[in-house]
Symmetry: C2
Subunit: 750 residues, 2 copies
């Protein structure tokens, strides 16, 4: 398949510069590089990050994902004039991120203020073949006269996290008049980061090296003839002391080895090696949408690209941050987003990666147990925000209220406990989808039992029932509530599954069993009231309401907090995202469809969607309710969270969970896939704009490809045993074939 | 006197942006503000510094002068387009630093890319009336249509020292929807810095405040009518925990009090208060030159302006850094420049300030004694580089040799000991010029005796003489030599004067006296050889020579170190600056004029002038030798060190000592003033380009004004008793007058 998958930027616009830096970021799960322009702009936020390298700026503060020294910048002077798109005249500009190959390209026709014209072609990629490699090519052509071109590039450690310094320069070197090598140490966490770079030009130039003020640079001056492209190639590599592929070498030595290995390999060769890996990715995981609007396909391509580059598949010690490695938002911390919004994509396309994400949690079980104990609970209380160490990384205080001087304590770390059950939920899903007994009987079971134990100790008695008091559900506009529906249902599921797998794997613990059974019997679960409404918590339905239309218009901005204090918002029927809708998405079989529809309508009306996790989940539930038009609208709005016209939507990084949720909406909403043991169920709810939807699925050893059109479902079984297929309630038979096709109209007619 | 004193920049040129940031820096000795443009450019190095606030980036490193949060930046958007001189068309541009008032003004006519034209007038000053105040005015006029103007400004703590972070944000606040207040702490030295700012506009606009990522900003949006200037006024104040005028308040409280005191005072009023202080400065200290080239006058005005703003006259705990407060060069450290090149200007115009600079050393006497003891010496060994604490701040190692990986040890701290005698020399000069017995009998004598004691312990025996082995003179291209002429003469003067004032003030110490007398008797002094040459050290005259013309062409660049190692340079007759010439400048009476001329010629030929301290001293000695043409050439070249056409000459700050030396060259060279007790001697050597030279002098309680033309010297005695005046060897008589006039031709004819 050679269709184009390209994210384009047609104009240079400073107002969008940070947004496109995030959208067009490149990476490979090991490192992420923002799509800053080669030339500098004050409005840019250059950034390069590697998974797992965090540093606390000072005692008592939470760890930042460290912004690495920059290797992507090039300072270009032409006849003494600094090249900048702000200066002179931009005759043409096009930038494209080729999602098919991972290459970022930018072509510019630029007229210098003295009238001379130049063509620039910038290309670069972060290798998917060698996780440590960043390669760039700069091609400058003076179109109508001879010109003196001076290029300065190297390793720039003046980079900080917005003025917060994390790296100490240990050494900068130039080896063999060729390789620039910088070694740095994180000031608190003590990791070593080594970066090395070589630069080669297509023509002989005057080269010199310099190191000053945390910059190590090479400068090349050439006299370029008119019409002849001058090509400038840079290979940069990054190794850190956390890397598992050091093989006993220092990060510095590994850098030098890597560059030595690339001697004689040019940009094109290296790109081909990397692009081949991207070809395999798309071959295995692509979701194809025939939509009246090709934007839908782009949005899915964009989502899958980012899901891939945000996931540190190389090392289970690292999780997926809320912004991946595309920016400094949320300090690169890992939230429930990882398990609930990102893991499912991996689980259904490359289960090994889902396992790794769970292993990330498993490796931090001890810290979670310690956190539980510190808070007076048993079992494992995973941190609301997690980084490398597994310690709680949620900042203790929110940003200061600059008017009152108050620093409001962030309660998530002390009350947003549903993450514990979310991890358990993902663990069970992993097992159900893979049958991976080896994982389940050790790590999986440990996660389940310790998370289950937490809930049992977390519950308190009230009127003879067990209740979960003073929690925060996913909806952070209603904090410190009792019996949050989402939390209670998830906690029950957690304990129920712990019990189940304890029994299944013979890890009998009688005391645990007795306690769990009592917990399950006595735990209060909010059930639909007379009007069919599931109360989000004990008081929500009795709170006053206000007109939210203005805030919904401006969703995602948290504008309501400008008009109301957090306390006031807490005391009204105002939702950031709908917990009950999330619950209905996860447990569709536990509620009648009318109840689901009723609750969707009720809660959506009261939801501002200020969380990027909200819209796509609404799309799933709406689709399942047969409200395809509404579902499609939610889906499209979710697509626009990053790709929409708001200039500052994604300044601090893409919205990882939202991108994962686009895939969820497609597969669990529009395709409406579900599983039950060895049975896959499909009850498609394609929006009318879509004529066909094709996607791969891995399930319990099968590799399937599912195509859904308005009239027909076709399933190809590339590998693995047969499985039951139920389409809109009717079963289809494989009868030994590798492909089955179901006529939807006939089915519906039956 | 209302003549214009203006430093102009006629074009906006990125290549000169850092240079003009230094040249046009503003300040008042308490704080220094680089002349960064209000709008941001990637090539800028924004900087604001306050005297005395240093911080060590890490254990074992020397302290940096801390770059403060920025208050001068304004982000301006017009109809959504960011204002930048790189974009659109700059129809006219003029920037001027008005040295008469201390105001920086910039007027721009700018055509936006859509054709709309705007006039900008930026003005700002650092108050000379209230040391804590920085005031700015931004005036935007949309010339031909209505426009939406958005201005964002505040307190930006993303500033670092080239990526090295020194300040921790403690709190950011907005008070009364008016005052922005940020409080910061230096990470190692623990000083508190508070900054507060208010912003007021001439028209009602939509205002909002925000704090994020170490920035505290106010944003104002206005709809500007065509032709109507929209004026935007900002008052910012800075207080630190080091300030002596806190009166028990916190720095934050002092900031708020200051701003409250400015309520109702507009930019113009505040500027007038500050400019009045500048008027007094010029009235008291101006040097007037009638030259064929008005550049000479500008150069002197420029020098005096910077001498004034670099000197922390408000607080004797702080010294004058090599770059003043105009940049981060030499980390803001204090060298011998302060005593030998900057102090004399103050001594002869406002002796109180010279006293303060000596008090700075006196307050650090204990640390100097400790340094001496640590190094096995007695007395006081002042640090080669000094900051707030008086500890040695010279970096232990020079920048790494990026090719070899070697870090060469910087020897100045262990061998450049002449600074000890330089401080003693300045102490004696202070007393000779002021007769300040109160100072001399306590602080002055302590400084003299302890510095003298150092030299006595520093000397070693060789062939029955005392010698000073393994020293570095001012000329750092000949390190680790024995009997550096400058050092030996200065050491002798030091001990001699210690002895003299010990006796004068009856602080008899017999052991000290005996030892000092023996030292003076036995110390070896390099004397002119058969050819009349004073050997710079024991071996210099026997070293090989090379052709230096290429390096002299490119003086100031230290280009020789690209071709030769420091060791190789050490072993040749190559000078960075001429020690012997410096010696001849300080002790003209000790050598016959022919010897002076001979040595000037010999050493100048071997001097690259890679030190900015070199040229102007050569000018003095050449003038005294009657080589006015040569002297004028040296003087002009010294003027060009900062004001010349080299785009990067002053990126890291102006050259404080060089600017002090321009004044020295004028007064001690061209006017050829010298003193002997109550006698002032004048033997003018005006360059032929100068028709008149007028300058004030304070000497032993007199306030004089001296005018020198080609034919006549006129001295006005504004106050103080008569004193003897000798002009070219002949004495003039006051006879009770307040003014005398001497006809130079008649004198010469006599």
């Amino acid at each position: 398949m050679t269709r184009e998958r390209i994210l384009r930027e047609q104009h240079f616009d400073l107002n969008f510069i940070k947004k496109y830096e995030s959208l067009m970021a490149q990476g490979n799960g090991y490192l992420g590089l923002r799509a800053s322009h080669e030339e500098a702009y004050t409005e840019q936020t250059r950034g390069m990050y590697t998974a797992g390298i965090y540093n606390r700026p000072m005692e008592g503060e939470s760890a930042d994902l460290v912004n690495f020294p920059d290797v992507a910048g090039f300072r270009i002077k032409i006849d003494g004039t600094l090249f900048s798109l702000l200066a002179g005249e931009v005759r043409s500009y096009e930038r494209e991120l080729d999602l098919s190959t991972g290459e970022l390209r930018r072509e510019i026709l630029w007229r210098k203020s003295d009238g001379a014209e130049f063509r620039f072609l910038f290309r670069r990629f972060v290798s998917k073949d060698d996780l440590h490699l960043v390669a760039s090519e700069v091609r400058v052509t003076s179109l109508d006269r001879e010109a003196r071109i001076e290029v300065v590039t190297g390793i720039d450690a003046q980079q900080t996290n917005h003025g917060s310094q994390h790296l100490i320069e240990k050494e900068v070197r130039v080896l063999d008049e060729d390789v620039m090598l910088g070694t740095y140490r994180t000031s608190q966490s003590g990791h070593t980061a080594a970066l090395a770079a070589t630069v080669a030009g297509s023509a002989a130039g005057k080269e010199s090296f310099a190191a000053k003020n945390r910059q190590l640079v090479m400068s090349v001056k050439v006299e370029a003839a008119a019409g002849e492209p001058y090509v400038f190639e840079k290979k940069a590599v990054v190794y850190t002391s956390l890397d598992r592929d050091l093989d006993g070498r220092t990060p510095e030595a590994a850098c030098l080895d890597a560059l030595a290995g690339y001697a004689g390999k040019d940009y094109g060769t290296l790109l081909r090696n990397s692009a081949a890996k991207w070809t395999a990715f798309w071959r295995d995981k692509e979701v194809l949408i025939s939509s009246a609007d090709p934007f839908d396909q782009l949005a899915l391509d964009f989502a899958l690209y980012h899901l891939e580059i945000m996931t540190p598949a190389h090392d289970e010690r690292f999780g997926v941050g809320a912004k991946g490695l595309t920016g400094e938002g949320y300090k690169g911390h890992v939230f429930w987003d990882a398990e609930m919004f990102i893991l499912p994509f991996h689980l259904l396309t490359e289960p090994r990666k889902a396992r790794q994400l769970l292993r990330y949690r498993y490796l931090k079980l001890e810290q979670a147990q310690e956190k539980a104990a510190r808070n007076g609970y048993e079992g494992a209380l995973f941190p609301w925000e997690s980084a490398l160490t597994g310690e709680e990384e949620t900042p203790e205080f929110a940003a200061i209220n600059i008017r009152t001087g108050d620093r409001q304590r962030i309660s998530s770390a002390v009350a947003e406990h549903h993450i514990v059950a979310d991890i358990a939920f993902a663990t069970v899903q992993y097992y159900l989808h893979t049958g991976d007994e080896e994982f389940m009987k050790t790590e999986g079971l440990a996660l389940l039992m310790e998370t289950g134990r937490f809930w049992m100790s977390r519950a308190s008695e009230r009127d003879g029932r067990l209740v979960l008091e003073d929690v925060i559900g996913p909806d952070e506009y209603t904090e410190h509530v009792d019996n949050n529906a989402f939390t209670n249902y998830m906690a029950r599921y957690n304990v129920e599954q712990a019990l189940r797998y304890m029994e299944q794997f013979g890890a009998e613990d009688e005391a645990y069993r007795d306690r769990a059974e009592a917990f399950l019997e006595r735990l209060y679960l909010p059930v639909p009231d007379a009007a069919g409404l599931i109360p989000q918590d004990d008081t929500f339905l009795s709170l006053p309401e206000i007109d939210l239309s203005a805030y919904k218009e401006n969703q995602g901005s948290q504008g309501i907090l400008l008009d109301y204090s957090r306390q006031e918002v807490n005391r009204m029927q105002i939702l950031k995202q709908a917990d009950v809708v999330m619950l209905l998405y996860l447990f569709p079989d536990q509620f009648p469809l009318e109840v689901i529809a009723e609750n969707l309508a009720y809660y959506e009306a009261r939801t501002i969607h200020d969380s990027s996790l909200s819209k796509a989940v609404h799309a799933i539930v709406a689709a399942r309710c047969g409200e395809e038009e509404l579902a499609y609208r939610f889906f499209r709005e979710a697509c626009l969270i990053d790709l929409g016209p708001k200039p500052d939507s994604s300044d601090e990084g893409i919205h990882g969970a939202s991108l994962g949720a686009l895939w969820l909406a497609t597969v669990f909403g529009f395709a409406n896939v579900s599983f039950e043991g060895d049975c896959i169920r499909l009850d498609p709810k394609l929006p009318k704009e879509w004529s066909e939807l094709t996607f791969p699925l891995r399930y319990r050893g099968r590799h399937l490809e599912i195509s859904i059109s308005r009239s027909r479902i076709r399933i190809i079984r590339h590998s693995g045993p047969e499985l039951h297929v139920k389409v809109s309630g009717s079963e289809a038979e494989w009868n030994g074939r590798t492909e089955i096709s179901i006529d939807l109209f006939r089915k519906k007619a039956e």
